[in-house]
Amino acid sequence: MKATRINLPGLLFLAALAASWQAAALAVGSRGFPGFLDVARALIHDAPTIAGALAVTLGRAFAGFAIALALALPAGVLFGRVRALRELAEPVIELIRPLPAIAVIPVGMIFFGIGSAAKIAVVVYGAAFPILINAMEAVSGAHPMLETVARSFGLSRLAIMTEIDLPAALPQIVAGIRISLALSVLLAVVSEMILSSDGLGTYLVRAQQSFELSRVLAALLVIALAALAINAAMLAVEHRLLAWHDARQAGAAGHAADGGQTGA
């Protein structure tokens, strides 16, 4: 992770790209090739609609993410701690995980129709895996000394899980949560694209179907900015939450980041 200082060359490069895009669009002068300013205009013109759609989409993403967290975190810690359960659960997880969550959208539709419930269900399904797998791996891979010490203090199994395993596994769990949040936004948008009713995904598809390219690009820009903002917020939370952690201080937390991403 980089420090959050301003990357001037990068921003200048982006600005140069935007400027040359605008110049190219002016040179072509076709409605099929809107420039950067056309996109900005579409964004301003449609701002209330886009803001409403964004709120709907993020609402679904966060609702699904919260449910996934509430289910997957305890399950992950439990499976990580109790070896017999883990050995039963692992092959099932290995079987289900490579299936892209997008493939679950038809199932969501059959059970819940095309409303919010179907989309939230898809988000829950996809967002649960990175958290579940990272928590399970981190807890099962924790140093055995932690458990020995906890036992000698006379802690119960439940207390070991909540007071020892959870904090020790936190860096990897938080890495899983970050992946999971990004996936939640992705899945909310895509399920709205396929089960069109409302939200940014539907806005995107409708703009495409009415051949309004500048609105398509405006929606993409908003999705990217929202995802970047969520990621930045999560990194800030992570920084605060983990400042005390030795794994963090040793700079080892980054290694855990890949754990659940293949669940996409």
Partner: protein
Amino acid sequence: MNARPARHARPAKAAAGLALFFLGWQALALSGLTSTEFFPTVPMVARALGALLVDGGFWADMAASLARLLAGLALAIAAGLGLALAVADLALPRRMLAPLVEILRVLPPPALVPIAIYALGLGPPMFLAIIVNAALWPVYVNAANALAATEPVQLLTGRALGYGRVELLWRVRLPAAAPEIFTGIRIAAAFALLATVAAEMLAGTNGLGYALYNAGFSLATPSMFALMFVIGLLGVAIQSVVALARRALVGWHAALAGQA
């Protein structure tokens, strides 16, 4: 895949886990909580799978998806690795690219389907662009970070041996970065599958994603679950191939670190 406990060491437990999963499925299907029309029993799904396996249309869809997926992934790995190698010891271009890469990699690959349809139509180039874009950035970001983070001792040793820039890159930086590059490729493989299925669901006229979409929206639920099973197995197969390639190419790394 890094340092996970050997999970294949206990096939009996694994079989028990899978048996429990299918038993639970069957019990839920027969419980009356849902109609088997919506949530079919295990034998119904197995029969649908059997019917798929002898159906030429299914194999055509499989071939179409596989061709897209593999072409996209191969192109993404080549481009991502090439780009990372090109900027490996050039800090300025790397920093210039960083914000653009951040934006491109947070965009959900399926959300790019509408714009790709505009730019490229509904043919193979559109699918290729979606899949390459999805798989490219994990490869590039992991490779670029790892190539930039070579141990100074290794670089100094290389210099002492009289290596020039290219030799340093090829003989020192690249081998040192290999494990992380494979981590990027593993993530890229998962993203490529996701992008393939999503693009086919949104804009396909063939392929497994299109077949799944059709099965779901025509309420052919046993076929739908059978197709999901097939797509899941495809994911397992791709990840296994990546893991095998990793072991063959960078197994020495784990051996050096004492994890073999």
